[in-house]
């Protein structure tokens, strides 16, 4: 690898700064340059900056993002988020390693081309299982598509240099073709469809604007092309491919020039014929507005946080303003007092959307009332829960609304400087927020004397580095301060003693997004939705074994059943609903028998779950609850900062018991032991991570105790825990050899026209044979 040269480090320091508080960005810059953190580089940083060796070392080894050893040229990050987990992410990870011939204990292939890592969650849950290779996300992986994915990635790398032709804008537009380019839509190829639309429109000289919009939330249809005609008619095409682009445009638009019109007319005619004869691929179909699934998906939702979903270009500030954007900020600055804003918030009943549900006006008031020379405002966009991607979509789709909400909050509480702390796993959100801040500064909506008034606000973007615990506010603040982000004991709360010791308002993305709406539409309007204790709406990331997964915004008080059945279209593959995991690693599982539980803070708490930040993973009968509990505990255990005994050691011991259960080595008393230590961890940890870490285990014991007992007795009723099951081929076998061809472990010998046999020693229990068998001859016991 490259040797560390002092010049490079000096340039980095020059660019970022010498203060000890810049520790994290300094290390990120070094890693960006070298691909890892060479020890000599950290040493140089110590010499050139105010950072101390112990500080840099403790940070460099804390965050997942940092590597102390060189990596391969490209980084494959296999998402092991909840939705990906239940769809076999573990096997995908192993399959990548198998395919690249990476041996046990290694993470990089022999050519040093690819390094394979697990990542907590990419926030693309509806594309599960998903992976990110450098900056490209691929969804719906199977071990068989891995070679294609790698090939596609490498080809894309080659083409990266070629710039596609830019089309001149048409004078009179007949309409728009809208497509969302959020990272999850991109992962299923929406960017390619976008390019294809651009190219087709240019080639055919069609008077249509191809527009990148905020996310529609209908991930199950992505890439979704919406054609909006000048008369307002909307046509939607779901699950499109680049090859569909031309035919979609031809259906609705006529080219401007006569010659071109004829040509495209013939093309169109030919195409229709072809269409009719061959039909479209099984996963691509066009939908009309009246399509039942879209209706059901959209009509039950209430768009407050996601107002103007799929309508506006995320970064088009003029469009945002045209729809009333920044008007609320203007009104607040000119006509309202902080007190009246606080009162309005109180009346609205808005509660923090980050998970805790603390009344927003109380938090704001706590900062507002303190006299201090400096106050800060922080937007917590460190959405680390596996199975949650609301904040990512909000940041990618509504950057201006977040900034407006923050500006209003800052003005109300008296803060003049602020940060948006965003996960490094969300590069598009980072880019769009950065751009949005730039645009706002240019228009005097941020910076000095906002809107010409005596109010200044400087906002910075801070990139996280892969640590779930940084979602905890004291940890997040320490991260920004350049310290090792182990949470500290509260009180004092950040509202009194926050960033750099100053009063600090920390709110979640969704909370800030809701603020302009509440103030513009009025508290009553907001409080008109929801239940007595929980007002307004909540955005959920609906994923797992559901027909229509995606981002949904529902009024509080809707039942879990309504969300799953009416919005989500029920369980996929005709399976039965078993439970819904709500609240991620801090939450719990609500069993199907309690599906009529209402979505509000109190009801969910009673059911043993929590609102959390909004991850909702639907589980069916093939999901093992012990495995789910083990999965979440593995996550929190890995994410524990290690500070307090109960969290550091207690969660490890719990995990070991769960692992034993999943391996069929449980023993009598294990369930009680889990409950005992679980309760003590809840009671004796200093931060929210530890206090809630046992929840998934305790809630599954409460609702599915018999399943735990079954594991102690040596069976996994869901047929999920690999050590407790085996696959076999029944007499139904037709000898087609498909299973043998697909088996990744070569555990089935190919015997045409004979009954196949699975070698139990070689079998890795991945279930591929069962999936591919056309005769249903593979059984699992």
């Amino acid at each position: 690898m490259d040797t560390v040269d002092l010049d490079t480090i000096e340039q980095i320091v020059e660019r970022i700064g010498r203060d000890a508080c810049h520790a994290l960005p300094l290390l990120q810059a070094v890693q960006a340059h070298y691909g890892y953190l060479p020890t000599e580089a950290i040493e140089s940083l110590c010499e050139l900056t105010d950072c101390e060796p112990s500080q840099l070392w403790s940070i460099a080894t804390f965050y997942d993002q940092f590597r102390l050893k060189p990596a391969g040229r490209h980084l494959i990050r296999v998402c092991i988020g909840t939705a990906c987990h239940v769809k076999g992410a573990g096997q995908i990870f192993e399959a990548f390693k198998r395919h690249l011939h990476i041996s046990e204990g290694e993470d990089t292939d022999a050519q040093r081309l690819f390094t394979v890592e697990k990542v907590a969650c990419l926030g693309c849950c509806m594309l599960a299982p998903a992976v990110q290779i450098d900056d490209v996300i691929y969804g719906y992986l199977t071990h068989e598509t891995i070679p294609q994915v790698l090939q596609d990635f490498l080809e894309q790398q080659k083409q990266a240099a070629t710039v596609s032709g830019i089309r001149k804008p048409e004078k009179v537009l007949q309409g728009q073709a809208r497509i969302c380019l959020d990272s999850s839509c991109r992962a299923v190829g929406s960017d390619k469809v976008y390019d294809a639309l651009e190219k087709a429109a240019a080639q055919m000289h069609l008077p249509v604007k191809i527009k990148n919009t905020s996310c529609h939330g209908m991930s199950f249809l992505a890439p979704l092309v919406e054609v909006v005609m000048a008369d307002g008619k909307i046509f939607r095409y779901g699950n499109t491919a680049p090859t569909d682009a031309a035919s979609i445009l031809r259906r609705h638009f006529q080219s401007a020039s006569a010659g071109a019109r004829i040509k495209s007319g013939i093309d169109q005619f030919m195409h229709t014929l072809l269409d009719d004869r061959i039909g479209e691929g099984p996963i691509r179909y066009s939908l009309s507005v009246r399509d039942h699934s879209i209706d059901a998906y959209l009509n039950k939702q209430v768009h407050i946080a996601t107002e103007h979903a799929a309508e506006i270009d995320p970064l088009d500030i003029a469009e945002y303003q045209k729809k009333g954007g920044f008007e609320t900020l203007r009104q607040c600055l000119m006509d309202r007092t902080p007190e009246s804003i606080l009162e309005e918030l109180e009346n609205s009943g808005l509660r923090g959307r980050g998970g805790g549900g603390y009344p927003t006006h109380l938090k704001w008031f706590a900062v507002h009332k303190v006299q201090a020379p400096q106050k800060y405002i922080i937007c917590n966009g460190d959405e680390g829960d596996p199975g949650a991607f609301m904040d990512r979509m909000l940041m990618e789709s509504y950057p201006y609304r977040i900034l407006e909400g923050m500006a209003i909050a800052a003005w109300t509480v008296g803060a003049t400087e602020g940060y948006l702390y965003i996960r490094a796993e969300y590069p598009l959100a980072l880019a769009r927020i950065r751009q949005a801040i730039k645009n706002c500064r240019r228009l005097g909506l941020l910076g000095e004397h906002i809107l010409g008034m005596d109010f200044s606000l400087d906002l910075h973007v801070y990139t996280g580095a892969g640590a779930f615990v940084c979602g905890e506010e004291t940890s997040l603040i320490k991260s920004i301060e350049g310290k090792r982000p182990a949470p500290r004991l509260r009180p004092p709360y950040p509202t009194q003693h926050g960033l750099n010791g100053a009063p600090t308002l920390v709110n979640n993305v969704e909370t800030f997004v809701s603020v302009p709406w509440v103030l513009r539409m009025g508290a009553d309007n907001f409080a008109g939705h929801g239940t007595a204790g929980s007002k307004g709406t909540k955005v959920f990331a609906l994923a797992g074994k559901i027909c229509r997964g995606g981002l949904v915004e529902v009024p509080m008080g809707m039942t879990i059943r309504q969300i799953v059945e009416e919005i989500g279209g029920g369980i996929e593959n005709d399976k039965q609903l078993k439970a819904v995991q709500i609240g991620g690693p801090s939450g719990g599982c609500v069993p199907a028998s309690m599906a009529d539980t209402k979505i509000d803070y109190e009801s969910l708490h009673t059911a043993g779950a929590i609102m959390g930040s909004g991850g909702m993973v639907v589980l069916d009968e093939t999901d093992c609850m012990v495995d789910i509990a083990r999965y979440f505990l593995e996550f929190t255990q890995q994410q524990s900062c290690g500070r307090c005994t109960f969290c550091r050691v207690g969660t490890k011991r719990m995990l070991e018991i769960l692992e034993r259960l999943c391996e069929g080595q449980g023993c009598a008393g294990d369930i009680e032991k889990l409950q005992q230590i679980g309760t003590q961890i809840q009671n004796n940890s200093i931060c929210g991570l530890g206090k809630t870490a046992p929840n998934p285990v305790l809630s599954t014991i409460e609702h599915f105790r018999e399943e735990y007992q079954a594991h102690i007795d040596g069976t996994c009723p869901a047929g999920r825990c690999r050590s407790l099951i085996h696959y076999s081929i029944t007499d139904e076998c037709i000898g087609c050899t498909i299973c043998a061809q697909h088996c990744p472990a070569d555990a089935i010998a190919m015997k045409p026209y004979e009954k196949h046999i699975i070698d139990q020693q070689t079998c890795i229990r991945c279930g591929t044979c069962k999936t591919v068998c056309p005769a249903g001859a593979v059984e699992v016991k």
Binding site: S54, W57, S640
Partner: protein, 519 residues
Amino acid sequence: MITLTIDNQTVEVSEGSTILQAARKLGIEIPTLCFSEGFKPSVSCMVCVVRVAGVKHLVPACGTRVADNMAVITHSEEIQAARQTAIELLLSEHIGDCVGPCMRGCPANMNIPVMIRQIVSGQFEDAIATVKKDIPFPAILGRVCPAPCEKVCRRNQADSAVSICLLKRFVADIDLRSEKSYRPVCQPSIGKKVAIIGAGPCGLSAAYYLQQAGIDCTVYDDHEKPGGALRYSEIDRAILPLEVLENEINQIFRLKVKFQGNIRLGRDVSIDELEKQNDAIFIALGTFNENNKDFPEIVAKDNKIQVDRPLYSTSREGVFAGGVCIGSRNICIRAVADGKEAADSIRSCILGQKVQEKKEYNHQMGRLKPEEMELFLKQASDSERIYPQSVIEGLTATEAQAEAKRCLHCDCRKADGCKLRDLATDQEARRNVWPGQRKLFSQITAHEQVVFEPGKCIKCGLCIQAAKIAGEALGLSFEGRGFNMQIVVPLEKTLVEGLRNASTECVRVCPTGAFSFKC
């Protein structure tokens, strides 16, 4: 000022104080482990948890600031359970033995590893003090002891045990030959008397330790001279010369222990008489005979005296018994151990003190894994076990020191200064309640003064603070997070580079044996 109540007592403390400070002001004891006066509370061990009225969870007293009208409870079943679990969890990731297997194997619990380290560094006078703290007759035992300590010595796993018994004899022989032989400090007489029946190793051992406590002892025996089985049974005098026996027994009588020979209990003196003249009686008869007619009520069917084991007390008040007559194993070292332990019980009884009944916690890491053994062997001499040229003469100084260097030092160097062990004892922590992954034992010994054993670390970070306060350029740092978090010298540097001047302070502030002095 802030007013609050702790265990229903009102206290006033300045704003910004912690619950722990307020409790200490009231004299209320809250156990702590990761807290050290003068350091920023690390708030990590959670041993100091208390309940604050109105707060859902327990809170750590060391880091929680007081507030007006706060009501704190420091002791309850729930709190006790939490403290115990916190310690048991810490112990579940603790790697190391409090005391070496040799010491656990020795019936008298002699601190063998310390003696060995003293031999290595040539401090023979200190070594005899270490030995005599637990064994009054090392020269004798060095010749006749079957050495249970050597059977459990970890070095057996690699080649053969350290020659512990001969090392002890080596130390004792030097002492016996010296003009200024070791003489323990005896408390001035407190005016209490104990009659000891039987002048064998058990009775003499009891006398040796009681006399040191200022209690006047008279030993009775039906033989003419003291020594019991050591003198009157058939022992090869080539192995245990009479001279050695008498010299070492004389060491005991130098402490003003009285001896009355040719006196048989039940024949020449009755137990009732002795009771009148003494504050306690200790029966240390080896073999048992018709004497028991004198006190039938304390003798069981199997002809053994029945005692309450840890206290050696019989059903007759003020009468204690030990040695073979209570069924103890018939080896000299066991008799010596009985005498010593009974002396402790008798002393407490006479002084009206409660005997420490809590058994000291001993952590054990069990059989070493091969890579751990390798690590230990690196710190020890690789020579084979040294046998003396002549069995009669024992080891020479050169041989003894060479043999002592074979010790693996698998005990904890800070067994006596370890807050974790003290708390484990106090809170009656159990071993192996939370079995699970055990990391490998590791040890950094390159530093001149200190040894660092990461497996004993509780991750409180006090050493990091200490190094920082001392102005270390490199110092120490946390590495990683969660269960795998550890304390290291940053930038992959050595401990020598990390701790240029803070090593002593690190040992002082470390609540466990993670940082300890080399010897």
